[in-house]
């Protein structure tokens, strides 16, 4: 019984955390004969309908947005895994000239917020013709490249490689492996847990990214989910039933991903792993 106040507070905060979504779901399920501005507000729809979902589904290319988001997030994750692991390996395991300078140069990128350099990043992307007005493929590359590697990923992989005993590598050298084979066949399989962490958090970050795609994208066919959802406001101006239904629809994929991977997020083992 003495835990009761604790539970009451946690239930209250949990409700606050999900209430905006509950209210959005409630609105999305109300039919045209029900006043969505009714006082007092009704959580349970009296004129229950799925029509808003089918309506918004017919007018908006959610599958297209979803595929675009998958391509961008998938490409971003893949490049981050490869590039971070490759860069983390020599920083952890090799001695070379300029190692300290390289290390601090990478560390310095943590201090440069994308928001402060987005204008030149856009100008460079234009110059490299990596925009959707050239073609869709170039558009995807342009969406991915500025986020293809991060200092966070490199340091995460460096940490992981530092944790592997030196004997593992020495055994490889005795067997006649070169640096690349040691990296690919011996070390990489041993850092799979860190790769998984990097993949999951890069995916979440890329999936929710809004600023960059809203700067570079010009074609509706290239919209990722966040850009497409923001666009619902313009398409349906004050039709909150449709806007609500579309917002909820767009959230389903990431919700499934979160529930499937929840231990990575809430265990606390990967403290501070989401982009800062």
């Amino acid at each position: 019984m003495k835990k009761l106040p604790t539970h009451l507070i946690l239930i209250f905060v949990s409700l606050l955390s999900i209430f905006p979504f509950i209210w959005l779901i409630s609105t999305s399920l109300k039919g045209n004969s029900e006043n969505i501005f009714a006082y007092p507000p009704q959580i349970i729809p009296t004129d229950f309908t799925w029509a808003n979902y089918t309506g918004v589904w017919d007018k908006v290319n959610f599958i297209g947005y979803f595929i675009n988001s998958m391509i961008v997030a998938g490409g971003t994750v893949l490049l981050n895994l490869i590039l971070s692991a490759m860069a983390g390996y020599p920083l952890a395991r090799m001695e070379f000239k300029g190692k300290k300078v390289t290390f601090f140069a990478i560390l310095a990128t943590i201090m440069i917020p994308f928001q402060a350099i987005m204008l030149p990043v856009y100008l460079i992307t234009l110059k490299l013709h990596l925009v959707d007005s050239v073609n869709n493929f170039a558009g995807f590359i342009g969406l991915i490249m500025p986020f293809a590697v991060s200092a966070f990923g490199i340091f995460l992989m460096r940490q992981a490689f530092l944790g592997i005993p030196k004997e593992m590598e020495e055994a490889g050298i005795v067997d006649g492996c070169n640096a690349f084979q040691i990296f690919w066949k011996i070390l990489l399989p041993m850092v799979k847990p860190s790769l998984a962490v990097l993949a999951i958090f890069t995916f979440i970050g890329s999936w929710g990214e809004f600023l960059w795609p809203s700067i570079v994208l010009t074609k509706e066919a290239m919209y990722t989910l966040p850009v497409g959802v923001n666009n619902l406001q313009g398409m349906f101006s004050s039709n909150w039933r449709f806007i609500a239904a579309g917002s909820i629809l767009s959230t389903i994929p990431i919700l499934i991903f979160f529930l499937a991977m929840q231990r990575y997020f809430i265990s606390g083992e990967n403290e501070g792993a989401v982009k800062g």
Binding site: H7, S14, S17, P120, I124, M145, V149, N178, G268
Partner: protein, 288 residues
């Protein structure tokens, strides 16, 4: 080849190219652009010396957005440093339903900021559910996003709401490292909940509190999507912050020099926070 002295450089090359093209080059270009004047001819900018900076510091809107950004910090950061700690202490007990609480409180972190902003815009609607609560308590309804007095705070609430779960998990990880014997000693002494945490928990996780303070300050400096989706910086610039103003001047007014001068100001502020963060609180993470 791979065993040669070039091997480390080959491994670093791909990441190096990306960082060079999309971080270092734009970084120097931001500084360079801030000395150019694009107003006469956008394709042939003229060298302008410190004109953009002079214009910036003469511009009342710049002071407004700077002030708004600091309000953002002063409101959001203390709440995000303290409230999630309180929740983490509550959740870090032997109680039922811990996983469910964690999932529900973490949910806003995972959901797209665009969807979160739309959900709040709906709560904040003129005849929306929040104004129902306000009017049934006997007050006049509030223009949450339309009244210059409230718009900034309404947006800050969304940022706070979306960050609580994230910082709670960081605190939970830190709490696990507090030795249990210290709490047991407190129990023997008959200390109550408050003294127990003031004397044991807080001193023990002070570094984490400092870390959360700096990272929440850095992310508050970078807020964009909430403002873009909910208010577009309005009404009357009341909810406009530095990043949003940079975006507006760069991509809507095509005032590249002015926007870059402001970006340099943002860079300097964020770099100060980051340096504090890296050298004081995250030394272990980078093994400095």
């Amino acid at each position: 080849m791979y065993n040669s002295k070039y091997a480390p450089y080959l491994f670093l090359l791909p990441a190096g190219i990306i960082l060079a093209v999309f971080f270092f080059l734009p970084f120097f270009q931001t500084v360079w652009l801030s000395f150019l004047d694009y107003s006469a001819d956008i394709y042939n900018p003229a060298f302008a010396g410190f004109d953009n900076y002079i214009n910036l510091f003469k511009n009342p809107v710049f002071y407004k957005v700077l002030w708004n950004t600091f309000i953002y910090l002063f409101v959001a950061v203390p709440i995000l440093a303290i409230f999630p700690l309180f929740l983490a202490v509550l959740i870090n007990q032997k109680i039922r339903g811990v996983t469910l609480y964690k999932i529900l409180i973490y949910l806003p972190v995972i959901v797209s900021i665009v969807v979160a902003a739309i959900a709040f815009k709906w709560l904040y609607a003129d005849q929306g559910i929040l104004n129902y609560v306000v009017t049934s308590l006997g007050f006049n309804s509030i223009g949450w996003l339309t009244d210059p007095k409230y718009a900034l705070y309404s947006v800050i609430i969304v940022t706070i709401w979306k960050g609580i779960g994230y910082y709670m998990i960081i605190y939970l990880a830190a709490l696990m490292s507090v030795p249990n014997e210290l709490y047991e000693a407190c129990d023997i002494d008959g200390a109550n909940f408050l003294t127990k945490h003031l004397t044991v928990t807080i001193p023990h996780i002070m570094p984490t509190i400092a870390l959360v303070t700096t990272i929440s300050a850095i992310s508050a400096m970078k807020v964009f999507a909430e403002i873009y989706v909910m208010t577009k910086g309005g009404p009357l610039n009341s909810s406009k912050t530095i990043v949003y103003y940079i975006y507006e001047r760069a991509f809507e007014n095509l005032d590249l020099g002015f926007a870059s001068a402001m970006a340099v100001v943002l860079l300097v502020i964020v770099m100060i926070f980051s340096l504090i963060n890296i050298f004081c609180f995250e030394r272990n993470k980078y093994q400095l």
